[in-house]
Amino acid sequence: MIEVEDLNVIFGHGGGAIHAVRDVTFRVGAGESFGLVGESGSGKSTVLRAISGLNPDWTGIISVDGEAQRQRRDKAFHKRCQMVFQDPYGSLHPRHTVDRILEEPVAIHGMGDADKRIDRVLREVGLGPQFRFRFPHQLSGGQRQRVAIARALILEPRVLLLDEPTSALDVSVQAEILNLLKRLRSELALTYILVSHNLSVVAFMCDRLAVMNRGRVVEEMDAVTLRRGEASQDYTRQLLRASLGYDRAAADSFRDFA
């Protein structure tokens, strides 16, 4: 479904250039859920933004659904591949009602039947019709994230790119959203790429994952191996230890993997 080969992302020019992603290569099969894990600044979100088409400063090969993508994407691509952002407080237009937010993509793609589609997608994400004409400031964080998911789903995409979809939410709401995403994937046969720094989220949501550090993929493994804690690379083992919670001895033993 998604193939990424030798992806490099460089921001800026000359001496101040930042090489954010180095030679990243991975494949995601149709219907698979793939995780990208790493600490802040490891380049995982940058990879996602390059795939989504938000960031044009990349070189290498990105192909989605068998089609090699160029830096600029066409409408058909956007219909197939949608993204959910990390911060539900920043990803909804503050002056648009839920109705307007969901109607926009339908209008852009000339899909017609907006009323029915909005109604259905709101039900799919577990929001009733009573939310339809509210403004974002009248919604809670979890409800906002549901609207953001609905906005992505209304185009009936095949791929959903999830950029830390739960890290801005509190814990109980996190679980709701993760369950919702899991249910939607099986119901709608979606392909996911999930970016997260939270290993347990990835272990719960994904079949396979890649661990990134300083712009490189350090290790690829499946979720079963992750749950057993059998990482082959030192960096991944350190990340696993860090995810268990704070421990002074562990923190002292951490080193930098360049």
Binding site: S52, G53, L54, R73, D74, K75, F77, H78, K79, Q82, M83, F85, Q86, D87, G90, S91, L92, H93, P94, R95, T97, D99, R100, E104, P105, I108, H109, Q130, F131, F133, R134, F135, H137, Q138, A148, R151, L155
Partner: protein, 295 residues
Amino acid sequence: MREWLLTDTPGSRTQARLGRLYGGWLAFARNRLAMVGLGIIVLLILMALLAPLIATHSPYDQDLANRLQPPSGAHWFGTDQFGRDIYSRIVHGSRLTLYIVLLVAVTAPVVGLLIGTVSGYLGGWTDIVLMRITDIFLAFPKLILALAFVAALGPGIGNAIIAIAITSWPPYARIARAETMTIRNSDFISAVRLQGASPVRIILGHVIPLCTSSLIVRVTLDMAGIILTAAGLGFLGLGAQPPLPEWGAMISTGRQYLLEQWWVATLPGLAIFVVSLGFNLLGDGLRDVLDPKNG
């Protein structure tokens, strides 16, 4: 009705929109001074609409036997050097003032908004070219530039309005651009880009609605300045031409009699003062309601 407007679960687009407006109105109505400003503007509009009914005399009829009469029962604000009733002239002059204000308000901010948002959203060369043009306009003092335009176009109220509009759009472009730059990298703009929206759609539907509120505030606060510039042009003989009862022009002619017949220049001056104050108070109130930083 109140509950229907303020409900958390509106049932239709219209209800959601009206509810939002009503919420804004409630916040605005809490501000007493802003209500005073609104009252002044409403009075000005009523005065302009009903000018022939309110005025006691014709603004143009001369009566040389009664020239420069002090305020009295027959002439509430006295008469000017041609014996015309100053009260009636001020009442009719409100039409000119409103005409200037309205025309400038529908041209300059719109141009500024378009240039600013396009420049801020697209960036790159578009931004550089548009902003340098804006800089050129900003480099001249407003009144001097307006004077130059009027001198080139010829005196008259229409040309004065064009000159004021041409000189007052750059600050709006600047505000709109700054506002756009803070918005354009936000997630909700990325999201709509990912839906395949064209730049035109994004600018018109997503960027402009967020810039308008701060612009409306700025325009209302600038209205006083616009009235003063128009009056200034009138005073210098480059705006409205005699015998039009434009307030600035009235002050200009009254200036010669300022010491002996103070009312000729003072009363139109007071009118300008009150209207400018009204717009300023209104702008202050609107800022409290519309400022996106509080919303």
